[in-house]
């Protein structure tokens, strides 16, 4: 099978990479540009690079706090969802029982749930439970999208495991439960890891719930903190872009390291089901 590597496709791909990378490049460059020069005519290759904005970000604005908040919320949500969701996904993928197909379809449908539609009851509920502006007050709503997502991703992953695994274990006398615990789970670690990463990313990026259910910097997550950056006179672009770089770098790193797995997980889940 010949694969054409003519210059046409390569050019398109090259354009893609440039178009994708440019805003990041521009953000990084601008975040290192002194404030005074930011509002002048921009130049592609700047002469002066300073770390003022990054320093201000952590000294003046305590950007550690939103980072901590995001980590705690995303971490707790992911841990709970992967733990509970993996059981559910295994059952849906490998066990036989009635209602399996409707439940699968239901979970798929819930992944497309519009968050905005449940902001009002969640707000009233959280307010009643005095959970507004708290960590549980974010983790609970996050379960809405994180749980179905985790289950869906893990279902497609579990399906890819060889069908004979449980058979072999049970032929040796193990119960289904033990087969799951001792055979399937260890083999699933890569899939669990990928799912965990994807769920973490989704939680980290979430904005609407974090905006609605937090009140101030003590509990705001990174996206909310950046979106609400206020300056006294002008928009503090230097610091905003520095924050953007800081918020993006770890995700970019994660994604680059695990790209193959992530793409597999995503396209399998979205296309093949």
């Amino acid at each position: 099978m010949r694969r054409l590597t003519g210059w046409g496709p390569v050019l398109v791909v090259g354009l893609l990479v440039v178009a994708t990378a440019f805003p990041f490049y521009w953000a990084i460059v601008s975040s290192l540009t002194p404030e005074a020069r930011l509002f002048e005519a921009p130049s592609l290759f700047p002469s002066q690079l300073v770390f003022d904005h990054y320093r201000a970000l952590f000294d003046q604005r305590d950007f550690w706090i939103p980072i901590r908040n995001s980590l705690i919320v995303a971490g707790n949500t992911t841990a709970f969802c992967v733990l509970v969701g993996s059981l559910c996904a295994y059952a849906l993928a490998r066990l036989q029982f009635r209602w399996k197909r409707p439940i699968l379809a239901f979970i798929l449908a819930v992944t497309m749930f519009p968050q905005i539609s449940i902001v009002s009851p969640l707000y009233l509920l959280l307010r009643e439970l005095r959970l507004i502006n708290t960590y549980p007050g974010l983790v609970l709503p996050y379960l809405t999208f994180a749980m179905p997502l985790t289950v869906w991703l893990l279902v497609s992953f579990f399906r890819q495991l060889p069908a004979e695994l449980e058979e072999a274990a049970m032929a040796d006398g193990a119960s289904r439960l033990r087969a799951f615990w001792e055979i399937i789970l260890p083999l699933s670690l890569p899939g669990l890891a990928t799912t965990a990463i994807l769920t973490l990313v989704y939680c980290w990026n979430e904005f609407l719930f974090a905006l609605s259910f937090t009140l101030g910097p003590e509990r705001q997550t990174v996206p909310v903190a950046i979106a609400l950056f206020r300056g006294q006179y002008q928009v503090p672009w230097g610091q905003i872009l520095a924050a953007a770089v800081v918020a993006t770098a770890p995700i970019a790193l994660l994604v680059l390291l695990f790209q193959r797995k992530i793409v597999q997980g995503l396209t399998a889940g979205a296309v093949k089901g």
């Binding site: 307010r127 005095r130 507004i132 502006n133 009140l215 101030g216 206020r230 006294q232």
Partner: protein, 377 residues
């Protein structure tokens, strides 16, 4: 604080723009946050927050209400209870050119004639400028003309009366100043406080209606062409009414969900003491809400306007309608006022439409005034 050594005060910064601060407060208070304990409210927010149950009534703490300007206290009462203490006050004033006129005009008719004369003989471009853009400031300007002719937006029973004869006369006067005598330029209909200040400051206007903040800025001879050549006076009255100033300013209130209401009141009590108000006047030029202070020499040194003149104007201050849905009512009124002022609708029709819409809204939210014969809702 030596009187209460165990009270710790933490300041929380809020956005400068009133709208943004309002939104932030609404967000916090609605979520029943216990922080912050003390809030700084714009004068038109008190009834709204009080009716929503977000701030505490202060009567139980025994505040000395008789020591404040009555209008400022009235603006902070809802349902018979006092919900905030006035901290500093802002009032609309008439700025006039002392190098063009000998005295400030005593009536609106005099003002109109003087402005016309200034344009003809002294060659000043604009006779009079005020804030005419479609925003809250327009309502404060209208309030002053309204009071000059004896009209009101809402009466003491909560009834909308902005379509009265006096009101129609007031609005027609404003419209005529733009299109008949042409004392007021059309561009004023897109101006807010700063644009009017620039016009007066550059010597382009003989009269300006604005808040006290403009005074010290225009005294800066480096920036201002009229430094030392202007003074302030109350906005004059007219037939059937009195000189009227729109009341603005800030008040201090306590969050209903505060965990330290007594300590919070102690702080408020401290901040509203006479010495504190004098210091505030000295450091930031804000006007005290205690009439007694206007006889003190320290105030004369601190303020750019002579204290007894300022006091005269503040005593003429009229609050905007004290109702929880003031912002929405104001929006309806602003639209209609602006339509009349931009000559898209005659004043009477505009005010009648505004009144009807405002009454419908009050009705809809269950705030319609009770009918005197008991046939109300």
């Amino acid at each position: 604080m030596l009187e209460h050594p165990d009270v710790r005060i933490v300041r929380r910064e809020t956005p400068d723009a009133a709208d943004q601060r309002h939104q932030l407060y609404v967000q916090w208070l609605n979520a029943r946050a216990s922080d912050p304990d003390i809030l700084q409210l714009d004068v038109i927010w008190t009834p709204e927050f009080a009716a929503a149950g977000w701030i505490l009534p202060l009567d139980g703490f025994g505040p000395p209400v008789e020591e404040y300007f009555p209008a400022t206290i009235a603006a902070n009462r809802w349902d018979g209870k006092l919900y905030a203490l006035p901290w500093f006050v802002d009032v609309g004033m008439l700025y006039w050119r002392t190098d063009v006129f000998r005295d400030a005009p005593a009536t609106l008719e005099e003002l109109s004639r003087a402005a016309a004369r200034a344009r003809d003989s002294a060659g000043i471009r604009y006779g009079m400028v005020w804030q005419g853009a479609r925003y809250e400031g327009l309502v404060t300007v209208f309030l002053e003309y309204l009071g000059a002719f004896g009209g009101r937006i809402m009466d003491d029973d909560g009834r909308i009366v902005v379509d009265s004869e006096a009101a129609v006369r007031a609005l027609r006067f404003m419209v005529d100043e733009i299109y008949e005598t042409q004392n007021v330029p059309r561009s004023t209909l897109t101006w807010q406080e700063e644009q009017t200040r620039f016009a007066f400051q550059n010597g382009q206007a003989a009269f300006m209606r604005n808040w006290p903040y403009a005074y010290p800025l225009m005294q800066d001879s480096a920036e201002s062409r009229v430094a030392s050549r202007f003074a302030v006076a109350p906005m004059p009255g007219a037939d059937g009414g009195e000189p009227t100033a729109a009341l603005g300013g800030s008040q201090l209130a306590i969050n209903t969900n505060s965990e330290n209401p007594e300590a919070a009141y102690a702080v408020i009590e401290y901040l509203t003491r006479p010495e504190q108000m004098l210091e505030r006047a000295r450091v930031v030029g804000q006007y005290p809400t205690r009439p007694a202070l206007y006889g003190r020499p320290e105030l004369a040194r601190a303020l750019s306007v002579a204290p007894d003149q300022a006091r005269r104007i503040i005593e003429r201050a009229v609050p905007r309608p004290v109702t929880p849905i003031y912002t929405q009512l104001s929006e309806l009124l602003q639209i209609r006022l602006h339509r009349a002022l931009t000559d898209q609708q005659p004043p009477r029709a505009a005010l009648e439409a505004a009144a009807e819409e405002m009454r419908a809204l009050l009705d809809k939210v269950g705030l319609a005034p009770k009918e005197p014969n008991g046939a109300g809702r």
